[in-house]
Every structure is written in C-alpha cells, then in structure tokens.
Amino acid sequence: MKPRRSAERLLRCYPPRWRVRYGDELAALVEEELADRPRSIMVRVDVVRGGFVTRLRESGLTGDSVPAAERVRAGVLLVGAAWSLAVVAGAAVATYAERWAQAAPARARSAPAPAFYAVQVAAWCAVAAFAAGAVLVAPALWSRLRDARWRETRPHVAVAGASSLVTAGATVALVTWVHRLQPAIRDGAQSGDHVVGALWALLRVVTVAAFTVAGIAALRRVPLDSRLLRAAGLAVTVAASLCALLAGVVTWWASLAAASAPWFAASGGAGPSTASWSPSEHRSPSPRRSGSLEPRGPSPLRDGACRRCPPRWGGGAVSPAAGAGHGWWSSSPSAVEVAVGRLWPAYCW
C-alpha cells in the first residue's frame, strides 16, 4: 500500500476535530516515515496508539483538556456503552448458563451456585440503576430531541428504529417458521439452525449497537444540569454492578470447572440432539464438548423463539412425559415467558 493511502487510513484513528488542526502535518510525517520504512509495524502501532490516547483525552476520559462537567458526561457515556456491551454479553451468558444446575453433577453445584446467585443480584442492581438513570435524563433528552438539534440526532435514531423493525419482523417470522417444524429439526438436528440462529442473534446485536450510538449522540447534546450529574452517580452504581457481574460470572465458571473437572472437560456424553434427558441421569454434554451448558447442546433456534409453554398458558399442549423427555420442565418459566405465551400463542407449541 502506498504511504499516502496508509497515512490517510492511520489518521482515522484520531478524532475529527483534532485532524482538522494537526491532520495534514501528521500525515506528512507518517508518509515520510513509511517511505523510509515501508514495512515498519512500529510506526503504525505508534500512530494507532497515539490516536487512541488522543480520543480518550479529547472525549474527557483522561487528562484535563475539557471542563470537569464534560468529563462527567464522558464517564456517563462510557458507562452507557459498557452497559450495551454487558447486555449482549449477558444474553450470551444467560443462554449458555440456562439450566446449568440441572446439567451439572450434584456435587459440582455447591460452589458455583452462590456465584451464580450473586451474578443475578448484580444484574438486577445494574438494571435498576440504569433504569433510574434513564428516567432522570429522559425529560432533558426528549426536550433536546424536539428542538433544532434533532436534525443532528435524527439519522442515528432512524437507524435504530429501522433496525428494531427488522429485528422484530425477523423474530415474528422465525417463531412462526419454527412453530411449524418437526421437534427433531426444531431442536437442532440440522446445522442450518445454527446459521439462522446466528443471523438472528446478529440482528439483535446490531439493534443494541444502533440504540447505543443513538443514545450517545443524543446525550452528547443534552445540556449539563443537575439531572445529568445525578445520573453520573447512578452510572457509578451501574459500573460497580457490572464489575461485580463480571467477577461473579468468572467465579461461577471457574468454580464449576474446578468442582467437576472430569465432567466439565469430558470428551463424550453429548449424544444425539433428539435423545431424551433427565436431570437425574447426568447424561448432559460437557460444556467444552457442546459449547453450552444446555442439556442437549446448543441450538440457537431454541433461544427465546422456541419456548415450550405448559397447557395452562393456552399454548401447545405438552404432556409431562414429553416435557421431562426434553428437559424443559426442570425449571419454571420466567414471568416474561408467561406473559409472551399468553399474548402470542405461536411463541409456544
């Protein structure tokens, strides 16, 4: 690649406002360096690192180049971005850890159980603090969106809205489609399930990312007042909860691996995906083997879109024997699942 083009690409690491002032002269210097040493990794690493540090400083996360109040805003935005990341990671962990207590041998549950409980408590603390912060800044955000600055935020909000519509439409189509499949296919007998499930998961991730970008773009334009400063206090609670959540997940995972090493790392036991499973038999696959703590291996189609509903929900009638055979009735359905099952019978089968 030519030095000029390389320099232009490397300069994108720097914030736009900084590039207006220093971009041309730094580009000239980088071009000279790359002309002398075309294969130099160190030059590229140095420019990328410099761009990252400059972005941190210009955003107010480090240094003292911006006023203190703006640094508070930068911290709130950082926690907001971390929250979005935690939502995506949390959804993955929740799917991975679903029914772990039934899948793990009895002797392996005593140590991980408190850690998993701590994870749930930390998650609810983070949700409560985030919701309170959102309520605090919502009025200022709404008034800001209605004034002239709405034009600057509108593209981001439009992308988030369009992404939500596409994801909702894909979810309805997926659930309707899965509802008509045979159980063996529905439960992961076909490898195509994973592709569809991965695409659906990708849509959800894109939607979360779009809302994060829109939220950051809007919050950047909200005037700094006491409400935002109070939200900063809640952001600290969110950040602490996320740290506790991460520590809890690591502790849960490590204690589960340490307490049941043979089962955890076993090379066999996964069995066919249509095989029946019972909590008492411990014939569950090892996490390393299956990639999931779910009783019968991973199947993205079963994630959310394919819940079984007990007869009292008004969904599909499932006999207790069939339920036990599929291992679905070992844990109670969540309140959200109950609500969705009542509103949308196709969610169940």
Binding site: W18, Y22, D24, E25, L26, A27, A28, L29, V30, E33, M42, V43, V45, D46, V47, V48, R49, G50, G51, V53, T54, R57, T62, G63, D64, S65
Partner: protein
C-alpha cells in the same frame, strides 16, 4: 532517541495546549514549531532540577558511602496530567 509520529504529535498537542510551544507559519505540509517564553522558563527550571540531581548524585559517588538524607518530595515543574 527517535520518537514515533503518534508520540511526537501527542507531545506537541499537550505542549501547545499549555502554551509552551507555538506553530510558525509555513506553506509546507510540515509545520515548524517554536518554543514560547513560558516554555523556555519551564525548560530552564527542569534542566536546573536535573542539574541539581546530577550534582547531588556525583557528590555522593565522589564522597564515599555517606549517610543519605531522608527522602522528600521535590517540587518539580510539571506539564500537568497527560
């Protein structure tokens, strides 16, 4: 010592923001910079502090293993946080 472009311009940004360095007019893409009077004063103070440190070190080395004074925090000139 050879500074990388990113490191060099990180330093230039901070120095200019603190008024210790100023750009000169130029038609070239590469822009020359000049140290300001405030920068000269800070540089002189820093060099003097370093000189005192070198002198103290050399005095200790030439004077044998004498007892060292209790450590104390020196009031060194600073550019502020990076």
């Amino acid at each position: 010592m050879r500074l990388g472009p990113g490191t060099l311009y990180g330093a230039i940004t901070r120095l200019e923001r603190h008024g210790l360095l100023e750009p000169l007019g130029s038609d070239d893409r590469r822009r020359p910079y000049r140290i300001t009077p405030a920068g000269e004063a800070l540089l002189a103070g820093t060099l003097a502090a370093l000189r005192r440190l070198v002198d103290a070190g050399e005095a200790r080395l030439s004077g044998g293993r004498g007892s060292l004074p209790a450590p104390r925090r020196a009031a060194a000139p600073s550019l502020g946080p990076a």
